[in-house]
């Protein structure tokens, strides 16, 4: 009895050790991917800051134009009565990243329920697609396999699709749902409005008053799609950084739990071994006593 138990314990220890080696390896891979993803988020930031500032200045100029009455309506700025909503849902392709997928999907689900109208979803990543199909929302398009280091070019299909959809009045607004990367330990699920673009408010005295070539409206018409494309690209980068951080933490927890389990089992194994030795000695001593008698 004791011997089978010891053998069983040894088998379990071996198997758990194997598992912990795998999770440890996954943890290290996630850590190095996370570093790269974080760098990409950071290196994209100057562009995003700059384009946001320029856009705010332009919007301030246009507001004064609109107030004088001859203001042009630029499509991507147009606020319409909301009949239908589009959503770009960015999730990982793969699981094993703790609560990340559940969190972003829950936030997206809540937003969809609160939209007060039909929501068409463009999913980026396999996990989001599965979710949309499961809850029975309208899946407009689905993108997977962007990889760990997408270029702006790779995300253009996504952004151009929703821009087109908005401009052709298929949807009256577009949301962007993704996990914002705050730190290695914290990723916040975020749902924000992508279109119509809401330029940051700029105080009048901060407005620079550029010379525009060819003219403010033409520049704005080209700048806005760029801005939307940049936002989508940036959200994808943030989501990737979040994914790898969450996976690293999840895998670290799994490795720690496995190691703890191995410790417990080893203790049990030692006890079982000692017990069996004790009982063997008792048998021998008892046997010897019987012979002597």
């Amino acid at each position: 009895m004791a011997a089978t138990s010891a053998r069983e314990l040894r088998r379990r220890i071996r198997s758990i050790k194997n598992t912990s080696q795998i999770t440890k390896a996954m943890q290290l891979i996630a850590a190095s991917k996370m570093r790269r993803a974080q760098e990409m988020v950071l290196s994209g930031r100057p562009y995003s800051d700059k384009i946001t500032a320029v856009l705010a200045d332009l919007a301030a100029q246009l507001k004064t134009l609109e107030e004088t009455g001859d203001g042009p309506v630029v499509p991507l700025l147009e606020e319409r009565t909301i009949k239908s909503t589009g959503m770009v849902l960015i999730t990982p392709d793969r699981g094993l990243c703790g609560g990340l997928v559940a969190n972003i999907n829950r936030a997206a689900g809540e937003a969809i329920r609160g939209a007060g109208g039909p929501v068409a979803v463009v999913s980026v990543g396999r996990k989001g697609r599965t979710f949309v199909v499961r809850v029975g929302s309208d899946l407009k398009a689905s993108f997977t396999g962007l990889g760990d280091r997408p270029s702006l070019e790779d995300t253009l299909q996504i952004s151009n699709l929703v821009i087109k959809e908005f401009e052709e009045r298929g949807v009256d607004r577009v949301w962007l749902a993704y996990s914002r990367f705050v730190s290695t330990a914290l990723q916040t699920p975020t749902v924000e409005t992508l279109i119509p673009v809401e330029p940051a408010d700029l105080k009048a005295e901060e407005a620079v008053g550029y010379i525009y070539e060819p003219n403010p409206q033409a520049v704005l018409e080209r700048l806005l799609p760029r801005y939307v494309q940049m936002k989508v690209y940036h959200a994808v980068l943030e989501a990737i950084a979040s994914e790898h951080s969450a996976r690293m933490v999840a895998m670290k927890n799994a490795t720690d739990a496995a190691n703890e389990l191995v410790e417990d089992l080893r203790l049990e194994l030692n006890k079982a071994r000692q017990e069996s030795i004790t009982s063997e000695i008792l048998d021998i001593v008892g046997g010897a006593a019987a012979v002597q008698r």
């Binding site: 994209g44 562009y47 320029v54 550029y210 010379i211 525009y212 760029r226 690209y233």
Partner: protein, 143 residues
Amino acid sequence: MATLRLEIVSAERSVLDDEVDALIAPGVEGQLTILPHHAALLTQLQPGEITIRKGGQETNMAVSGGFLEVMANRAVILADTAERAEEIDIDRAEKALKSAQEAIAGRGAAEELESALAAFQRARIRVEVARRRRRGMGGGREQ
């Protein structure tokens, strides 16, 4: 001598950040030369070549479009893509140019033609910038 600060950023990375003497950029309404203390300006760029002058030396870059902002003696180029001449793989660029030419010859639909033409334009500029750089380097070696 006065200089101006030039930053070139693309969505993916910061390409250049330096003090320069002058900058020549391909604006949509024609070539623009930006000297120090230029007035605030925001213009769209077309695919073309950026020339940067610094201390009597010229550096060339290929840009595939974007925006140029000048403000308070700082020029910022928000480039769709930007590559230094020495970064361009000339063989690849020539191949891209060739396939863009083929795409133009083979396609009829207006929409496809437009994107093919844009690709052709980008490829042509990259090849030109890279070739000029190669010639410059060749001359240097002979001396």
